[in-house]
Subunit: 358 residues, 2 copies
DNA sequence: CTGTTAGCGCCTTCAC
DNA sequence: GTGAAGGCGCTAACAG
């Protein structure tokens, strides 16, 4: 008849767990739906109805329960809620690394969509996924969120081709050729081609290249474009002009150092991302090489810093990728079919001050 | 005897819910502990023991179960898990807005600590908390995470003085004078004082000020410092030199416009944050006013962009604030007592190229 | 319109 | 060393 609750009440507790002594009998707990029900003198299901704005509750009851909820500062447990109903109104974002301009831009784009769609956002990261990434770990994160607390997840630069999941999964900038699931993909080939053609149009013939992380598809595609464009123009591809970086400024500095130390140094450098380009700028300065007078430079990504540095680059619309991905996910959650399972986001050449005719 | 499962199996499902027709009988579900138990020919409790590394399981059983877990790609439901046991190994971060340099820096700091502590991070945001912030909403987010899926949460720039929560809560840069709970606080007064003294030391006497969001404590403290330093130096505080901004570049541009349009314009401007300083730079340019030749400029925060702009500013060590806050939270979760409930993070004056003697 | 009942997936006693 | 039973907080079906 009467529901017995074994737990003590704790408010404003800010210290750690004091389990150990009263382990079993007294345990901290927060206000539950039962507390609300008792206080309002109704059943739990009625409270649940109020919580979920069902319309089969009398106005009077609704108000009374609402008031009690307010007074008790009650807020339903996400865990319990999502265990019963598949609908949580939050979407998940699995990030390889939150400490990276690319990721931050994706977050911004996702966030923009979230606000529009009136969803909540849960970003999941273990801080250094990239260092030990694998398909199974990715699957783990997806399962963690999707089988529990989110209505769907967006995963950024995944290596997996497909995911097993109860709820929809959208990949943003997947790290494989032909993802099986819905994905937002960048046009790396076109972007890199544009960059190269821009340099060639300016009359550059000796063009250095600083590569990106070899485990990333985008890096390969950009290098492919570099080679292909040279090939098509009849300019020989020279190994000494191709450096292998890792998308980081520091490594790019070493690459730039090598390139600029060549007997016949390049008159232009295509850095496979903006952070690498930043490394080139730094090194060029120490060499007394002026940009763009002595050296033209093109980056890739168009991260916010690029504008400050007046860097010519390829805008990858990273923000838009997050935005579009979220919209796709939303449609899937709604049970709609996608017009485009693979959504391409166009790149744009942004000509700024680091390139000029030879 | 035999456990009957009413659900169908679905793998690699990427489309939306197809409930509606078989609503009750067939529902998508992921691999559960029961599936693992059946496949391994043991009971669920045994699987649970393996999952939690209990030592009362025979090596043989342990291995067999582990293998099945791998094969099935099973991963326990965060929701269900955290409903039974208080330990989830993930900490929560409640952000006012992920689309903001300050927030991004805090995330980076938290992330750094997370990696060290081998915890997982769940960042929660509804995208536009600042627009409708209130103590009750904050409490809502804290409860949402803490009563469910995290072992503790960090909340950034909260307005609440205290939180009711089962697990520990640490405030970072709280938006109130004397927070009741553990908090990491910036030394806004000292920082702003340093900025002003730097300008005075350079010989500036007419110093303009661009304020921040009036709902933020930090903005008030910085303004206080501005006035106090002038007072102590015997320079009259002039209202026409004090503009009220909102920490945003656009608004700061209007303020800068007004300041520079004065009959007797200031020779220096102290912008209450770097984003405001960026606005000043933009407007000064349109006025043909050179920085630092004609106008000295100091910002506050030292966001990454500040370095590119060669902006003299106050480094608030935002990153460190997130890091320290996370460490504090960790200690609380471990049940330890804090040496310092209020942890101050010192500010530093970073002199760059936007200030010089008058 | 409201209460009762039955689990969601998991962990934790308590038996054996 | 292992299994059975109960319940965490909640929602959804079914009665009334």
């Amino acid at each position: 008849m009467c529901i017995i609750r074994y737990y003590g009440n704790v408010t404003g507790n800010i210290a750690g767990n004091n389990t150990g002594i009263y382990q079993m009998a007294i345990r901290k707990r927060s206000v539950t739906i039962i507390d609300v029900a008792e206080a309002a003198g109704v059943s739990v299901s009625t409270v649940s109805r109020v919580l979920n704005n069902k319309d089969d509750v009398s106005v009077e009851t609704f108000q009374r329960v609402s008031q009690v909820i307010d007074e008790l500062g009650y807020s339903s447990s996400l865990a319990a809620r999502s265990m019963r109903s598949r609908k949580t109104n939050v979407i998940g974002l699995v990030m390889p690394d939150v400490d990276d301009p690319f990721s931050v831009e994706v977050i911004r784009g996702v966030n923009r969509a979230i606000v529009e769609l009136k969803y909540d956002l849960l970003i999941y990261t273990n801080g250094d996924i990239p260092k030990n990434i694998s398909a199974s770990r990715e699957q783990h994160y997806v399962t963690l969120l999707n089988s529990s607390i989110t209505d769907g997840v967006i995963i950024v630069t995944p290596v997996s081709r497909r995911f097993t999941s109860v709820s929809p999964v959208v990949s943003v900038d997947p790290n494989i050729d032909n993802p099986k699931g819905p994905a937002v993909i960048a046009t790396n080939l076109k972007g890199a081609t544009d960059a190269m053609e821009h340099l060639l149009a300016l009359g550059h013939k000796r063009i250095g290249y600083i590569g990106g992380r070899t485990d990333l598809l985008s890096a390969h595609l950009r290098l492919d474009a570099y080679k292909r464009v040279l090939d098509q123009t009849g300019i020989p591809v020279e190994q000494e002009l191709i450096m292998s970086g890792d998308f980081k400024t520091e490594t790019a500095m070493k690459c730039a150092y090598q390139l600029l130390s060549l007997d016949d140094p390049p008159t232009a450098i295509f850095a496979s991302n903006d952070q690498s380009a930043i490394g080139v700028i730094a090194v060029a300065e120490t060499f007394g090489i002026r940009i763009p007078e002595d050296l033209s430079l093109v980056g890739f990504d168009n991260i916010p810093e690029a504008a400050y540095l007046d860097l010519t680059t390829i805008d990858q619309n990273i923000n838009e990728m997050g935005y579009v991905g979220t919209k796709m996910l939303f449609n899937l959650i709604q049970g709609k079919t996608l017009d485009q399972v693979l959504q391409k986001i166009e790149t744009n050449l942004i000509i700024r001050g680091t390139t000029r005719p030879i």
